[in-house]
């Protein structure tokens, strides 16, 4: 077989693929043109990617002319894309840094503007049979940090019933998780995790593993609690009273490891982007925040 034949085959294959794909593509393009529609590029936090997708899907029923494209990658990735000016809205489960604001101004001439779209309280879970109810941030750090001092439950004065080996089983997240980064920043103060933790691939898996292992401790979103686990009260410093992770303590900022879920845009939002953000901040958008397991902006809007 000579090269010519190969290339002809390639053309045939390519045409077949096109024929299969083309009607779908061209159809939606034509629809979009007819309606004079806009596409909103939305990228960033992996913690928020689910709620962002839920917003995008629901918004399609509100305003079919506007197409919202959502992707993850991490808060830093989203903000970097905003600085380059390639997206319209960046999702971030942390606040934008000063140098990022400067970079954005230098690069695009516009100042990033942030909107808080909801909150998340990062809960610390232990097994239901664990007598511990409360932990301080310092103790938590000593459990999870590289070369940390606390490796056994007895060091916390806890006796787990019916267990011979009371080594603490640490349950963490894979390193690309935004939750992992938030925990590392706020609890470990940017130091590294001790290796050997069970690094789960999802928030739900963390809670399930903790529910099945009596000596385990793990962190995950508050919306994932089940009957096998309990959420610990968190004390900012040892000796201070612990605060439970609830919508209320998140909103009044007494829970020490709560975070806001932010949307960043360049300059004042206009047109379709403004309408979309207004809708996210409205009752309808906030209901989706709650349905996704996070805390909506105002507890009054919460149905719970």
């Amino acid at each position: 077989m000579n090269l010519n034949q190969v290339s002809r085959m390639g053309v045939v294959a390519a045409l077949t693929v096109c024929a299969l794909l083309y009607p779908g593509c061209s159809g939606s393009n034509r629809d979009a043109e007819r309606a004079g529609a806009a596409t909103i590029q939305n990228k960033g936090s992996d913690t928020m990617v689910n709620v962002a997708q839920a917003w995008a899907e629901e918004y399609r029923t509100v305003n079919p002319k506007v197409d919202v494209e959502v992707s993850g990658g991490g808060s830093g990735v989203g903000i970097a894309a905003l600085i380059r000016g390639t997206i319209d809205i960046a999702n971030a489960s942390r606040d934008i840094k000063d140098e990022e604001i400067q970079q954005a101004k230098a690069n695009t001439g516009k100042e990033p503007k942030g909107f808080v779209a909801g909150y998340d309280a990062l809960a610390v879970y232990v097994n239901r049979t664990n007598p511990l109810d409360e932990i301080s941030l310092e103790q938590l750090a000593e459990i999870f940090v590289e070369d940390g001092r606390i490796t056994k439950w007895s060091q916390l004065g806890v006796r787990i019933p019916d267990v011979r080996d009371d080594t603490i089983v640490r349950v963490s997240r894979q390193s690309s998780s935004g939750t992992y980064e938030f925990f590392r920043e706020k609890v470990l103060h940017k130091k590294d995790f001790e290796l050997g933790s069970r690094d789960m691939n999802g928030s739900k898996e963390v809670v399930e593993l903790v529910g099945n292992a009596r000596t385990a401790i793990g962190y995950s979103g508050m919306g994932y609690a089940n009957s096998g686990v309990k959420m610990l009260r968190i004390a900012e410093k040892p000796g201070q009273p612990g605060v439970p992770p609830t919508a209320e303590t998140t909103l009044n900022k007494t829970y020490p490891i709560a975070r806001s879920l932010n949307l960043y845009v360049l300059g004042d939002p206009k047109g379709a982007v403004k309408d979309y953000i207004d809708w996210i901040l409205s009752n309808a958008g906030q209901q989706i925040v709650e349905a996704s397991g996070y805390v909506p902006l105002s507890a009054k809007k919460s149905a719970r």
Binding site: D165, Q174, E185, D192, R198, N212
Partner: protein
């Protein structure tokens, strides 16, 4: 006439496409990995000898894969310890001891076993097997090396059985007849005549089983506990090279150092499975030449 020629071309292309794909995949994986080899933060010695895997550390990024390599090999070895006796036993039973009716049924069931998607195996490991392990052993967590090895063994057994059975079937009947004429019992026949005669084919069956186990991703990701840790016992949680790539590649920024190091672990994995498969292939060729 033209239709026939076109069809022949299409079939010819399908035939050689495998080579193109393998080459293209290797080139792509290698090209993505290459730039990291010259990066300052990366050292090849650390890559192979350090257990410290901190690809996203704020202050001190470290790319040591020793624990991941140890995880891959330990879980594969343990899996083979379960799968080889079970698989070869199954192959011997199917080809020598069982009646034609039972054989057909068994073959269908074994094929069914091979057709179960790996994510379903992982799910079984995560839910059913982990509870059993916690109940009957002293393990604090049910997702560990033992769990992953049992799941991998169950996935490798169908391959070992079907290829092993083919190898035994390929032994000429004259061998069996001669053995029986000499008064050998059935077991003596298997042990002294058939196993030595089919040993290359059986080895190939085992090696293909190993290849399956080394390359498996989803099931081990879910069943082994995903902890960066050199195992001290079979109840320790581990992380494999494959599971590490699956968990981290999706969210590593494209083109970043982390992304490239993950591709480098891909090259490593590709090399391991290539060597295992090549070994199996050479062994099979050895069989044919006889």
């Amino acid at each position: 006439m033209i239709g026939e020629k076109l069809l022949e071309l299409v079939i010819r292309f399908s035939g050689i496409s495998a080579i193109l794909f393998v080459l293209a995949i290797f080139l792509f994986v290698f090209r993505e990995a290459l730039p990291v080899l010259t990066s300052e933060k990366f050292s090849v010695i650390q890559f192979f000898t350090s257990i410290e895997w901190y690809p996203t550390s704020v202050n001190n990024v470290r790319y040591g894969t020793l624990a991941l390599i140890a995880g891959t090999f330990s879980v594969t070895l343990l899996a083979m310890a379960f799968a080889v006796p079970l698989g070869l036993g199954g192959a011997i039973f199917l080809s020598e001891f069982c009646g034609p009716k039972l054989r057909e049924t068994l073959k269908i069931v074994i094929e069914l076993l091979a057709a179960i998607p790996s994510v379903v195996w992982g799910f079984i490991g995560l839910t059913v097997m982990s509870r059993i392990i916690v109940k009957y052993t002293s393990a604090p967590v049910g997702v560990n090396m033992l769990n992953g090895a049992i799941i991998l063994a169950l996935m490798a057994v169908p391959i070992i059985v079907s290829i092993g059975e083919d190898a035994l079937k390929a032994v000429p009947d004259a061998y069996r007849e001669a053995g029986q004429a000499l008064g050998a019992t059935k077991w003596q026949l298997v042990y002294r005549v058939l196993l030595p005669a089919a040993k290359n084919g059986l080895l190939a069956a085992v090696l293909l089983g190993v290849g399956r186990a080394v390359g498996e991703t989803m099931a081990v990701l879910m069943a082994t506990g995903h902890a960066v840790h050199i195992p001290h016992g079979i109840l320790d949680s581990i992380r494999t090279l494959t599971a590490n790539i699956a968990a981290e590649l999706g969210e590593a920024p494209v083109g970043s150092e982390h992304y490239r190091v993950l591709f480098l672990t891909g090259v490593l994995l590709f090399t391991i499975t290539f060597l295992v498969n090549l070994g199996a292939d050479l062994v099979i060729r050895g069989v044919r030449r006889k």
